[in-house]
Amino acid sequence: MIIKLILSILSIIFSLIMIYITQINYKRKILNKVNYLLWISVWIIIIAVSIRPEFIDNYFLTKYETDIFYILSIISIITLVILYYFSLMKINILEKKINSLLRAESLKEILDKLKDK
């Protein structure tokens, strides 16, 4: 019981911090309005579930006769892997673009110098 309570408090604190960070990123225009609303909803849902975990537990147990933690752990792992994959792809594409740009710029510089000579 105490462990469940501690976990709930931790996840609420974590979600509140994330709401704050999301807010900052929105103000800095790193996130657009759709992203902002989406992430805020995610953190609010996490807070709601943390406050009343038995609500979701009861729903799954009565409707699907499955343990919520079992479902959540599978969904979490899949989500993490998918998010990691897309982030990695995005980073690789960006890295490639930046490298090409910087190399092209350096080459242009020396070729212009050689032309002037």
Partner: protein
């Protein structure tokens, strides 16, 4: 003076050795390119005293990307051969000359210099080099002594066969990838012994990077 060869030196904070290396190189080679990876010391200042091409990257893009810059420059200036040499003075100009002479004389498309005396390396690096050599021989069915050697020359005409995709500033896989691609795509490859510097002066990989390279050797062989 090897007019058809572009000798490339990839430099990053090499102020201690770069002048020494360039003094020796300019005696024997006409076309020298230094790719500076945004050095924070006086490397660039020192390079400017020599009659060499200097390309400056605005950020440190790592060895692989610098090699690509050199490749693009060599293609634009229509050189026939592209040679690479380390900027830290671990390679001798005489050895570079040897590999140039060899590629001029015979039909090889790529020549790699290998460290003939591994006993000068410390135990960890010696074991690492031997394991990599064995793994490479097993998967590629070819005996090459130093797949990662930074002293090498190749014909620009084989570029599509050996083009490398390694990038990043934390590891130096481009040399190994070029070797693997060359063997996989049946390029005419040769190797000659070169002098080895003591391990204190040699910047190498750590164990994790060595293991990662081993996985990449398999990846380049079977997946790419």
């Amino acid at each position: 003076m090897y007019d058809e060869v572009l000798v490339t030196i990839l430099a990053y904070n090499e102020e201690k050795k770069i002048s020494e290396v360039l003094i020796e190189l300019t005696k024997k080679f006409k076309n020298i390119l230094v790719v500076d990876n945004n050095s924070e010391d006086s490397t660039r200042k020192k390079i400017k005293n020599f009659p060499v091409f200097l390309i400056k990257h605005k950020y440190n893009l790592g060895k692989s990307e610098s090699m690509k810059t050199a490749l693009e420059f060599a293609k634009i200036k229509k050189f026939k051969y592209l040679a690479f040499m380390d900027a830290d003075g671990q390679h001798k100009t005489d050895d570079l000359e040897k590999i140039c002479q060899k590629i001029y004389k015979n039909r090889s498309e790529i020549i790699i210099g290998y460290r003939k005396n591994l006993s000068l390396l410390n135990l960890k690096k010696r074991i690492g080099t031997i394991i990599l050599q064995k793994v490479f021989s097993f998967f590629y069915q070819k005996k090459l002594f130093d797949i990662q050697s930074g002293l090498r020359i190749f014909k620009l005409s084989i570029e599509p066969k050996i083009y490398w995709y390694s990038s990043g500033i934390t590891h130096y896989f481009a040399d190994a990838e070029i070797t693997c691609n060359a063997v996989k795509n049946k390029c005419d490859i040769d190797q000659i012994p070169i002098e080895t510097l003591s391990s204190e002066e040699y910047k190498g990989m750590n164990i994790v990077q060595g293991l990662y390279l081993m996985i990449m050797i398999m990846y380049w062989r079977f997946i790419r």
